[in-house]
Symmetry: C2
Subunit: 413 residues, 2 copies
Amino acid sequence: MTMLPSPYTTLDLEGVRTFLASLPAIAARLGGTPEAWQVREVSDGNLNMVFLAHGPHGGVCLKQALPHVRVDPSWKMPLDRTFFEAAYLRAIFPHVPDLTTECLHFDPHQFILIVPALSEHTVLRTALMAGTFYPSVAAHVGEFVARSTFATSLLAEPFETVMNRRICFARNQTLTRITVDLVLTDPYHDHPRNHWADPHLTSIVAALRASAAVQARIDSLRLRFLSTPQALLHGDLHTGSVMTTGADTRIIDGEFATFGPIGFDAGLFIGNLILNFFATPDRAAQSVHLDMIQTFWTTFKKQFLSLWQNRETAQDRSELYYATTDKSTQNFEKSLFMNEIFHDMCGFCATEIIRRIIGYAHVADFTILADPSTRMERQKAALLFAKDCLEQKKPLKSLADFLELLQQNMSAR
Amino acid sequence: MTMLPSPYTTLDLEGVRTFLASLPAIAARLGGTPEAWQVREVSDGNLNMVFLAHGPHGGVCLKQALPHVRVDPSWKMPLDRTFFEAAYLRAIFPHVPDLTTECLHFDPHQFILIVPALSEHTVLRTALMAGTFYPSVAAHVGEFVARSTFATSLLAEPFETVMNRRICFARNQTLTRITVDLVLTDPYHDHPRNHWADPHLTSIVAALRASAAVQARIDSLRLRFLSTPQALLHGDLHTGSVMTTGADTRIIDGEFATFGPIGFDAGLFIGNLILNFFATPDRAAQSVHLDMIQTFWTTFKKQFLSLWQNRETAQDRSELYYATTDKSTQNFEKSLFMNEIFHDMCGFCATEIIRRIIGYAHVADFTILADPSTRMERQKAALLFAKDCLEQKKPLKSLADFLELLQQNMSAR
Ligand SMILES: Nc1ncnc2c1ncn2[C@@H]1O[C@H](COP(=O)(O)OP(=O)(O)OP(=O)(O)O)[C@@H](O)[C@H]1O
Ligand SMILES: Nc1ncnc2c1ncn2[C@@H]1O[C@H](COP(=O)(O)OP(=O)(O)OP(=O)(O)O)[C@@H](O)[C@H]1O
C-alpha cells in the first residue's frame, strides 16, 4: 500500500498537536505526552499561521502558510513561501547557528516549517516600542548580515554553487513581487493599496512623487534590487524579524529570501530603527538609536571584511579574487565594495521608511505617540529624511554624514 | 511499444544524412531524395561538429556537441551546450529574425541543433582577414546586440519572465566556467593553458600581472560578469560568430548564452575588431576599423534607446520605469544606463584582446602579418592598448576618448 501524502489543510490548535505527535524527533524534543503539551497560536504577522508548543523538555514553533494573506483572505497567495523560508534556513544556518533558528522539519505537502521555540525572546520592535534598548542587539544583527551574505556570495563560493542557489531562490517570485510592488513601486504613484493616517501628510506624498531625483533613484533601486544578485538576502529584515533576550538574538521569518544587493538587508534593518527613532516620545532616548545604527554598520563592515581577509589566506579560497596579492589594491577593491553596499543601504533604508508610513503595511511604532499632531509631525520628519536620502546628488560619503542628515531632519521638527 | 530514444552517438557524414532524412520537415526543406543531398563537414571552431547539407530546395546546418573539446579530446565536456544554443535562439529569434538563424529542430538526446544554412555568407573574421570590409556589418551587429539584450532585460519584461529565463541559463555552467577561467582569470597569472608566440611579449605579460590597477579592474569585471544579469547575452560574440554577405548579417553560435552585463557582448565584438585593426598590414585600411567601432556603438545606442522609448509609450510596457514621467529625468536615467554599458564594454574589450594574444585560444588575425617582428610589435601594441584601457583611473567619458586611446597606441608603434 502506498501512503499518499495528505492533501493540504490549514491546521487548528488540535491539528498542530496531532501533527507534532506524528513526528518522533519533534515529539521527543517536546517530551511527555502530546495531551500534556501546551499549544497556542501566536500569529501576529501579515501572512502565516504561527503556533508555539511546549512540553516538559522543550518547545517548538510551527509555521504554516495559508492560501491567502492572513490579514486579507481575499488576497490569494501560493503556499510555497514556507519552502523558501526552510531553504533559506538550510543555506545560512551553518554560518549563523547562534543567530537564527534551525529548520527542524519541513513538510512540503502541508507547507509547515518547524523550528525551536524562542521562549525567552522578545520581538525587537515590541522591545523598542516599550523603550527597552538592548545594547548588543545591533551588533548581533550586523554579525548576522555579514556572515549570512558573505557565505552565500561569490567571495566565498565558486560561482557554480552560487548559481545553483540562485536557481532555487529565483522561484520565490510571489514574495519578490510583493517587495517590488509594495516597497519599491506603489508608494511612488497613486495606488489603492497606499494609505496614510493624517491628511497633512498628503503634501509630502505629492512632493515625493513630484521629485525627479526621487523618481530616478527609485527606478534605479528597483532595477538594482532585481539585477544585483550579490548574496542570498533575508529579504524582510525589519525589527519584527528579530527576536532577542538582549544577550541572545535570533533572526526569524526568512520567507522573502532572494538573491540581491547586500545593502537591501542592511537598509531594511536600519530603516526600521529609524522609524522607531522618529516615533520615540522621549528625545533623550534617541541617541540610543544613533548608537545602534553606528554599531550595526561598524560590526557588519568589520565582520564582512574579516571573513574576506580569511578567504584570501585560506587554502580553499573561492576562485575569485586571487588575481591580486597587492595589499593596497585589495584594500581599494574592498572599499569600493563596501561603498556600494553603503550607498544601497541608504537608498533601501529610505524606501522602507516611506512605504511603512504611506504604503500598504505600516509599522506599529508610531502608535506610541498618543497626540495625533505630534505623530503626524514625526511621520513628516521621517518622510522628509527619506526624501533627502533619495535626493542626494552624490552618494553620501560616510555613516557620519548619514547620521548628520538624520539628526538635522529630527531637529527641524 | 514505447520508442526509447537512441543513445547518444557522434554522427559522421552518413549519420547526418540518415538523421536529416528521419525528420519530415527538414527533409522537405532540403527537397529531393536523401541520397542526392550534398553533405559536408565545416567544423572550424574549438568545440563542436558542424555539417552543411544541401538539397534541390534549400540547405540546413547541423551542429552536434561532442563529449569533449573538438580540438582537444582529453578535455572532457558535457553535451548540454547545444541545448543552451537552442534555448538562446528560441529566446531571441522573435526579436532578431533578420539577424540570426531560426532553431528548426533540437534533439535533446543526440544534442543536435539544426538551423538554416547560410550559403551565401562569409564568416566576418575571414572577410576582415581577406581585407574585405563590409560597410553595414557593424550596424547589423549593433542592431543585434540592442534588440536581443533589450528584449530579455527588465526594461522589456516583467521580472517573473526574466527570472524564469535566468533559471534556465544559470545551468549553462560549463561554458560560463570557460569564460571565467579563459577570458577573465588565467591570463592574469601563471597557468599552463596560457601561451604566446614571441618571447618579447613576456615583459608585457609581466607588466600586466604586476599592475595593481589592472588586477583590481579584472577582479571587478569578473565579479560583474557573474553578478550583473542585465540581459541574456550571446556570450561569445567574436568576429567568428558573425556571418555576412554584406547586405545580410547573421549571428551564430550562441552556446555561451548567459545572463550578464550588456557591455560584455559589445566588448567582445569591438575587441575582435580591434584585434584585426592591430593585425591589418595596410595602415590606410585601419580607418575602416575605427568607423566600424563608431558605427557599432552608435547603432547599438540609438536602437536600444529607441526600444526603451517605445516601451514608455506602449500600453503593455513592463512594470519597470513607470515612476518617472519627467522627460529630463528619464534621459538622465538612460544616460546612466548607457554609461554603465560603455564602461563595461571598454573593460571586457580589453580582456578579450589580452586573452586572444596570451591566453589559451588565440585569433588567426595576426597570421596575415608575415614578418614575425612586425607581428610581435603589433601584438605588443594591442596588449598595451588593453592595459591602458584597464588602468584608466576614471571611466573613459566617450567613444571619442576610447578611439583616441586606440590611435595613440597604434601610432606609438
Ligand atoms: N521561533 C519562534 N519562537 C517563538 N515565537 C516565534 C518564533 N517564530 C515566530 N514567533 C512569533 O510569531 C510571530 C509571527 O512569526 P513570523 O514573523 O515568522 O510570521 P509571518 O506571518 O511570516 O510574519 P510577516 O507577515 O511579518 O512575514 C512573531 O512575531 C513571533 O512573535
Ligand atoms: N548556419 C550556418 N550556415 C553555414 N555555415 C555555418 C552555419 N553555422 C556555422 N557554420 C560554419 O561552421 C563553423 C563552425 O560553427 P560554430 O562557430 O557554430 O561552431 P563551434 O564549434 O561552436 O565554434 P566555437 O568553437 O567558436 O564555439 C562556422 O565558423 C561556419 O563556418
